[in-house]
Symmetry: C3
Subunit: 327 residues, 3 copies
């Protein structure tokens, strides 16, 4: 009952996409950009997917991703149906695949799948015949996040890169819990495919040497590499993921003795940001713990593109939907 | 403050509908069918209920039914608003009827009502003036499920039945927990109104003789009747409904010693399915416990119309909405 | 990063609005009224905000308000995206403002904000650049509720007031837990700005003298003032707010010994309603505890405009959205 996946008819992971296809999707996203990073107000655009229905099949909730896909669909005239949270058929013991097949049979034209399990979107795509878009699957990939990060980065770098999406000559640091982060994985793949040099930075348990198979470098010393970076993507400390040793206090990230020690070594403080190259681009995928992995003044400073990343998310999701739904 | 219910302006139960009206709704559903069981992609269809708003008033959640009504409404150009789950006014102690009156006053054009309480939709329909569609009320009825099951069955039988919806000469078995199933009730009523002979099969506590008042036969021996059936609808074992005797294990269905014994007597195994008439239609309303009431190979086999039932659900709900909202 | 709030580009509170603007919004709402209190079925109206997306950012759930805003947006052709409940980014420790900034960056055109914290909508409006509509912030204000109450009241009074919205010469009683009620606050402000005399009635802890700064009178004796009232708004006893002294019983409202005593002093019973002026207007913002603060026969009686308040809610929310989104 399964079939092979055509990566040009689905968006399962960036590892399955060619550089040409990444550039093509980013170029399509740029055609939707009103030059401020927001979608054009355009009647033609709003009719592009008229009559299509996109189903958000979120086995794990995520407001920001869900809303971004919803508005992306709406901006193209498609409807959105949400299947989320408690009370869904999932809790009655139905399998992931049966749920997806049911949704397909109901008549949705594309499935946006979010799951805590790596491989969930791929498994579903092997069974259904409508396009599947991975909106995050465990620690595997979050491909539209990778696309939005390179879109926002290229826009901030300018100098022609905002339209060529060529990142050669650019060094990007990704800092934090790399190994458990689908965002980091999709970023590394997207950025290196587009020519960037990527350095992953964190304590060894969170940024192990084994990451080098993805084509990036690895360091445990942020201060040593900071001066080389043209851009830095600061990952969120995921307290809810790290054990708290039986206490009510948030747990320490692995590899460091405490949150304070983590902050002293890996946070993008105002002081550290001041030591970066002039104009170095500051990124964070959100939601942010202000004052922990990044100082609020840095997040709100002139080099931060944190909000631009969010608005780029709507644009690249519009591009993926328009491309896959044939609009 | 209450008024009598006009069954031609509401869809409370199939018991309240004539055979002519069932055929009329099924014929309307068929006019929306693109011949593969999916809704036609048709601009005229998508404008049919333009400007109308349908409210899903679900006091009990059900993703598949909610999504099916949502996509049905959208396919006709109507908007959908969901009132579901925790945080709704219901939890503030408001009565069912006050909630429905409030929603009506807000300006919705139809209410789709789901509730764990038998009679909820009827009670609401006696108070509001917009059409009410019962999307399942306790163990009473689930009328659009009955409609979709006869639609999918007639389509699978073919030979003119797919357009006449005449089921005379056809014998259908419904197997499992009949007495607690609104699906079974609506199926029995729809199938017998259309001329089918229906045999309900299960252990006596789940398929008691008293069901005969509905116009069906009753048996506790699946193997004895299997050879007579032109179609079988396998009901889901509702573990969440059966007590577990204080343990964490799922409880046994009443009337049998264990889930294993239930399966040995009443499951549609590959072996049992092989002993049915050639071409006998295999149905299940979902969600399915694969390997319990039905083997996965049977569910995915050539005679299974499980997915067709789901897609028929969207078509018949479109028909009910189009009919009641005067589109 | 914050900016001053332009009260003509947001709807944060009625205290920030002029009488002229209230009348202008109410007049706009009336232009949407089909003369029965329901929105006109009008293709032009349904295209007015076409292509706009309204985001319901509800940190505290409220079905009736959310649905009313949703249908109001839909009636004008705008899309609605809901950000509600568990699993939202809020639970990951993100600040209110960051969440709102994220939603703005995603591309929504207006934020409807509900929160248990007084000042939440204002705080957000200081940071984002799209219009913010307060849908209730703690015990502060619920401005569209104030607007809908004066709309429904003026419509019930008639005699030209339904179009002038002039309430001079009219005395309104508001009865119950005034001090904790954002509804009462917005009502007092709206009604007094439009010329009404307002008497707040309740036990001293719930209706303290300090309310007089809002321009209303205060009484603890309902029977003493009842004969003077042209209209009465009965507030809901908020059992979930009042402590229950460690027992499972609902707690008594402060200032009285028991729910029974509260009812004997402050409920609008059939007997009390019969002692009011002929034609005095009976109001309740809902959801109602029938048989507690108001007898069911009164709520359903000829002078009750409880349902009209709900339908007025859709009209005034349409007016606020149309005004702020420039449609």
């Amino acid at each position: 009952m399964t079939h092979a996946i055509d990566h040009s008819r689905n968006m399962i992971d960036l590892a399955g996409q060619t550089r040409e296809r990444l550039v093509s999707l980013l170029t399509l996203a740029r055609s939707f950009d009103d030059c401020t990073g927001m979608p054009k107000q355009d009647a033609e655009l709003r009719a592009r997917l008229s009559g299509k229905s996109v189903c958000n099949l979120f086995f794990e909730d995520s407001t920001r991703t869900r809303v971004s896909f919803s508005l992306a669909a709406r901006n193209l005239g498609a409807g959105i149906t949400n299947l989320t949270g408690p009370g869904s058929s999932v809790t009655k013991g139905e399998t992931l695949v049966d749920t997806a097949l049911t949704v397909e049979a109901t008549g949705g034209h594309a499935l946006v799948v979010r799951s805590g399990a790596a491989g969930a979107a791929e498994l579903i795509a092997k069974h259904v015949h409508v396009p599947v878009i991975n909106a995050g699957d465990g620690a595997h990939e979050h491909p539209t996040q990778g696309l939005l990060d390179v879109y926002a980065l290229a826009a901030a770098l300018g100098g022609g890169r905002e339209s060529s999406f060529d990142l050669s000559g650019i060094t990007v640091g990704i800092v934090g819990d790399i190994v458990n982060s689908r965002v980091a994985r999709s970023d590394i793949i997207a950025m290196t495919k587009l020519g960037a040099r990527v350095i992953c930075v964190g304590p060894a348990p969170l940024a192990p040497r084994s990451l080098e198979v993805l084509g990036c470098e690895v360091s445990s010393d942020l201060d040593a590499v900071l001066g080389e970076l043209d851009a830095v993507q600061m990952l969120r400390i995921q307290f809810e993921r790290h054990g708290s040793g039986g206490s009510d206090k948030p747990g320490s990230p692995p590899g460091v003795g405490s949150v304070r020690e983590y902050r002293s070594l890996y946070a993008l403080t105002e002081r550290r940001a001041g030591g970066m190259k002039p104009g170095a681009v500051i990124m964070h995928p959100g939601p942010m713990n202000r004052g922990l992995e990044m100082d609020g003044t840095v997040a709100d400073g002139p080099n931060s593109v944190v909000r631009k990343q969010v608005s780029a998310g709507t644009l690249v999701r519009m591009a993926v939907l328009a491309d896959l739904l044939g609009g």
